[in-house]
């Protein structure tokens, strides 16, 4: 986003680099604008890094989730501020130099149009098929078609859900790789061979990295399921998150390095500038209602962005707003789950577990056995569906290989009651404190359960 050697880049701060920028008298001013933006971005990065270290010392999962979510959104926005300011200053320079707007003018190279492709279907098919094989294997294990004694949580479909999620991520990567491979070619020269080579190099860079990303994702699917079979749930999660972050960083570094080399190589050949600067708001948001393309190449960062002037772009903007609103609601809901305690009460020969809008009702006559225990950590527990927080376990869980166990408890309260009912259901319940749980257990004993 903030290139050190802007002279070698096709785009600077979201604006087309041009001969007028690279020569006197504008060169010094452009240099100053780019340097200022870089310096500001560096200060913001340092500030965000320092703040993130401080945030690591926050206590409380919900507080951490809330602060981190707000912080991440704020940091992303803050990092773009110097870019937007630099873009504005550079636009002013462009106007001062009297460079006419190229609004409405577009170029196409008849030789390169539709003929430059770098992504071969076979390269993305193999990793996707291998990933699918793991998904099918996990499904067959869960269905009991394949008997694997090492998988303790079989039947819970937890392993299938996890590998399917990773596999679907791979499918999504394939979809975006295809979109990127079919992006509009950029016309940089009147020489068709130069245009074709430039676009081929750029698309190959993207395709290679997408294929690499896809293979790493497939390896991750194998590794995650292997760890799952070994029963390492926490380790599995940490491992997968760590690997994913590492993959993302390698992906970004390789792409940026490759792209910089291509730009530096072809900047000498730049003789034709398709100037659509006017359609880029702040150099980041593309809004061009006359352009029929829904996706265009980004001017800052990797891959493609949406044309917000296109009907699909407008729909995606609505989705983004909805996602932001949903994130805010999710945080509020998580906060309420954290604050509102679970409660147990006996009412009309029924044991009622209640929190917020959730209620489990156990008919006392249906109870076959009820045991008071305080050693939850001795069991191997996997969450299948529901909430898993430090002070709340609620939903469907797998305990020591038995799937479909209903949890409604505060694990921090230590004591819990394990109830089995006549219809074969198993409940793990507790009140907010050990005292509340003990009181209910005594009531159950008095009832003869």
């Amino acid at each position: 986003m903030y290139p050190a050697k802007w002279q070698n880049r096709k785009l600077i701060l979201g604006l087309n680099n041009r001969e007028e920028f690279r020569t006197a008298p504008a060169a010094d001013e452009v240099e100053r604008i780019v340097t200022t933006a870089r310096r500001r971005a560096l200060y913001i990065t340092k500030g965000c890094t320092a703040l993130s270290v401080i945030l690591l010392f926050l206590h409380g999962m919900i507080l951490q989730t809330f602060i981190w979510t707000v912080f991440i959104f704020a940091a992303i926005f803050a990092e773009t501020v110097p870019f937007i300011m630099g873009h504005r200053d550079l636009m002013a320079v462009k106007r001062r130099l009297g460079i006419a707007s190229g609004k409405g003018i577009s170029f196409a190279d008849l030789k390169a149009a539709g003929s430059v492709h770098a992504l071969k279907p076979g390269r993305v098919l193999v990793p996707n098929l291998l990933g699918l094989a793991v998904v099918v294997f996990a499904l067959l294990v869960d269905l009991g078609v394949i008997n694997m004694d090492t998988v303790t949580a079989k039947g819970s479909f937890l392993g299938t859900i996890m590998v399917t999620t990773y596999w679907l991520t791979g499918v999504l990567i394939t979809f975006f790789a295809y979109l990127m491979g079919n992006m509009k070619n950029t016309v940089i020269s009147t020489d068709s061979d130069i245009n074709a080579n430039y676009n081929r190099a750029k698309k190959k860079n993207l395709a290679d990295l997408n294929v690499l990303f896809l293979w790493l994702n497939t390896i991750l699917i194998f590794a995650v399921y292997l760890l799952f079979m070994m029963g390492c749930s926490e380790m599995m999660l940490m491992f997968s998150i760590g690997i994913y972050i590492a993959i993302m960083m390698i992906y970004m570094a390789l792409f940026v390095r490759g792209n910089s080399r291509i730009e530096a190589r072809y900047i000498k050949e730049l003789s034709l500038v398709s100037d659509d600067d006017e359609y880029w708001i702040g150099g980041l948001i593309y809004y061009n209602p006359t352009d029929t393309r829904a996706m265009v190449e980004k001017r800052a960062g990797i891959g493609t962005t949406v044309n917000y002037g296109h009907p699909l772009g407008k729909v995606s903007a609505v989705f983004m707003v909805l996602i932001l609103a949903a994130t805010a609601l999710l945080l509020i809901w998580l906060g309420m789950l954290d604050v509102v305690p679970v409660s147990l009460r006996l009412e009309d020969d029924k044991l009622i577990c209640h929190q917020l809008r959730d209620e489990y009702v156990i008919v006392l006559d249906d109870i076959v056995s009820a045991e008071l225990d305080d050693e939850l950590s001795e069991h191997k527990i996997y969450r299948t569906f529901g909430v898993g927080m430090g002070n709340l376990l609620k939903g469907d869980f797998t305990v020591d290989g038995k799937s479909g166990c209903k949890f409604f408890m505060n694990p921090a309260g230590k004591a819990y009651i394990r109830i089995e009912t006549a219809d074969g259901k198993c409940y793990y319940i507790s009140g907010e404190t050990a005292e509340d749980t003990n009181d209910i257990y005594k009531e159950l004993e008095r009832y003869g359960r």
Binding site: K103, G104, I105, S106, F107, A108, D109, L110, K111, A112, A113, G114, S115, N182, K184, N185, V187, T190, S192, L272, N288, T290, D291, T292, R293
Partner: protein
């Protein structure tokens, strides 16, 4: 060959495409038998509607500059019919250019030199 489209021009976009392809064939930028991009590919490159490109190709086909078929897409005709004449529309356009040149003080010889340059004689 590079096609330049001006969306703000009075000339319709399909006409701009048609004109530039004709000029490309005339000056040799597009050689006889050369493959042209598909309608979809060219529309994507220019960010315009597929129907606009299709209309330009249809006109070029009707005028005998290109040939199209389902299997091979569009190609520049190897033999373009030599009608040995200027169409009525072009004659009107030429008349307008000559009139404007005369009013601007361009001499007949200067105009002929320019035509010869564009024709490729000089």
């Amino acid at each position: 060959m590079i096609i330049r489209i001006d969306e703000l021009s009075d000339v319709p976009i399909y006409q701009q495409i048609r004109n530039q392809i004709v000029m490309g064939i005339s000056d040799g930028s597009l050689s006889p038998g050369e493959q042209l991009p598909t309608v979809r590919a060219l529309a994507l490159e220019l960010g315009i509607n597929i129907m606009t490109v299709s209309k330009a190709y249809q006109q070029l086909k009707l005028e005998g500059y290109i040939m199209t078929n389902r299997k091979n897409g569009a190609r520049v005709r190897i033999e373009i019919d030599k009608q040995k004449g200027i169409s009525g529309q072009n004659r009107t356009g030429l008349k307008r250019i000559v009139s404007e040149a005369r009013l601007s003080g361009v001499t007949k010889s200067e105009l002929i030199t320019l035509v010869e340059e564009l024709y490729g004689d000089k």
